[in-house]
């Protein structure tokens, strides 16, 4: 009997916890039209300077973001084990061939990955733009990355103009890169 009682109490507590969580969610949803200064400026969504970094590339050379000021840069975070990352690569490659000659710099950064797997992924998907592994995870941290694939569009002044979480399409990349050229 005592067991049944405490079980009921636990379930009640758990349901109460869930109800509180849903109530908070509902409250936040109802605040959609509240004054915007309640939730002030986010970082990367607005125009912010793209954190500078140096990355060792898989071909043995180095990439320094700061040395590409004056050119639009597209940075794609990916991983060999990420399903949508493989799916978007043909579209990115097409855009590389279209916009590379127009001065856009492309970079792939593999996260949570090993060198062998990243290299195999690059070969498998015929990636021609420079890519490296963020082994120390410092670049991920600097960009506040949560989830892959994520693509950043950086303007000529070195500001993040836009970022997209999830697979990118050719149209989306054209739309964003045209704004930067």
């Amino acid at each position: 009997m005592a067991n049944l009682k405490s079980y009921k109490m636990l379930v009640a507590l758990a349901v109460a916890g869930l109800a509180i969580a849903l109530a908070i969610a509902g409250l936040l949803l109802s605040l959609k039209d509240a004054p915007k200064d309640m939730f002030p400026q986010p970082s990367v969504a607005a125009k912010e300077a793209a954190p500078d970094f140096k990355l060792a590339l898989l071909d043995g050379s180095n990439f320094q973001l700061g040395s590409h000021k004056g050119k639009p840069v597209l940075i794609n975070f990916f991983a060999s084990w990420c399903l949508p990352c493989g799916e978007e690569m043909p579209a990115i490659e097409k855009i590389v061939h279209e916009y590379g000659p127009r001065g856009v710099v492309f970079l792939g950064i593999s996260t949570d990955d090993t060198e062998t797997n990243a290299s195999n992924f690059i070969k498998k998907h015929g990636v021609t733009f420079p890519a490296g592994i963020d082994k120390s995870t410092e670049i991920q941290k600097a960009y506040g990355l949560y989830g892959i694939p994520t693509t950043y569009f950086i303007d000529k002044q070195g500001m993040v103009n836009y970022f997209h979480s999830g697979s990118v399409t050719e149209d989306l990349m054209r739309h964003e890169l045209d704004k930067l050229l």
Partner: protein, 232 residues
């Protein structure tokens, strides 16, 4: 997109090819629930099992979804400290997972842990574990999650994105908990499994210990690259 669609998106992703990405957390949560059950004093074999595992499952879901949706809602100012300190927070998460694994290992050997092995304290541990799993998780962004993150990353729509991310996360945790509960109920009815309960419990502890070590040492990328890559 509504909350129901987001919930279904998360739930169905668990039973689809996207499970490959959820493998970062799913086997470890199941190990926690199974280990928790097998460490119970009586190992009840009927519906009373639920008393031990349902509240921790719900607590895990609350912890996971709270932090998962906050991490996705990058457009909110109060999400930023979480996102920018994710590296340090993952170390804390690794420590919590280490404590959970030690609990499962030592619960039958330590009178203090034995006393703590009750549904309510276990729910507290599960809540912390849920938060930890949200912190160590690197979601693969499904098309639906991409739409949600698109909303969540913009200041004007971040709150809507936060709520939808919450529903999406509830879908994932609901599926995860259903599988864990079903597996535990099956184990509870299996005489062979119950005969080897200690060994299985210790194996669950080892699985959690491995996750803790991988997170504390940075080896998690090898797990992702080899195990998840192998499945793909």
């Amino acid at each position: 997109m509504g909350g129901g669609a987001a919930l279904w998106g998360g739930f169905s992703s668990f039973f689809s090819i996207w499970q490959v990405c959820i493998l970062q957390i799913s086997p470890f949560f199941i190990a926690f629930i199974v280990g928790t059950y097998l460490a119970t004093p009586a190992r009840e074999t009927d519906a009373r099992i639920l008393r031990w595992i349902v509240p921790p499952c719900i607590a895990f879901g609350v912890g996971f979804n709270l932090f998962y949706s906050l991490l996705i809602a990058s457009g909110l100012s109060f999400s930023r400290p979480l996102i920018t300190n994710l590296g340090s927070l993952r170390i804390v998460a690794g420590t919590v997972i280490l404590l959970a694994s030690l609990h499962i290992f030592l619960v039958n050997r330590s009178p203090f842990l034995g006393k703590m092995h009750r549904p309510l304290p276990l729910s507290g541990l599960a809540l912390l574990l849920g938060i930890s799993f949200a912190l160590i998780y690197s979601p693969c962004i499904t098309p639906m999650l991409s739409d949600i993150m698109g909303l969540a990353s913009q200041r004007a729509t971040a709150q809507e994105g936060l709520v939808l991310a919450g529903f999406y996360g509830i879908g994932i945790t609901l599926a995860l908990c259903l599988v864990a509960v079903a597996l535990t109920l099956l184990l509870g009815k299996n005489a062979t499994a119950l005969r080897h309960a200690d060994a299985i419990k210790n194996a669950c502890g080892v699985v959690l210990l491995a996750l803790a070590i991988m997170n504390l040492t940075g080896l998690m990328r090898h797990y992702k690259a080899f195990v998840l890559g192998f499945v793909l």
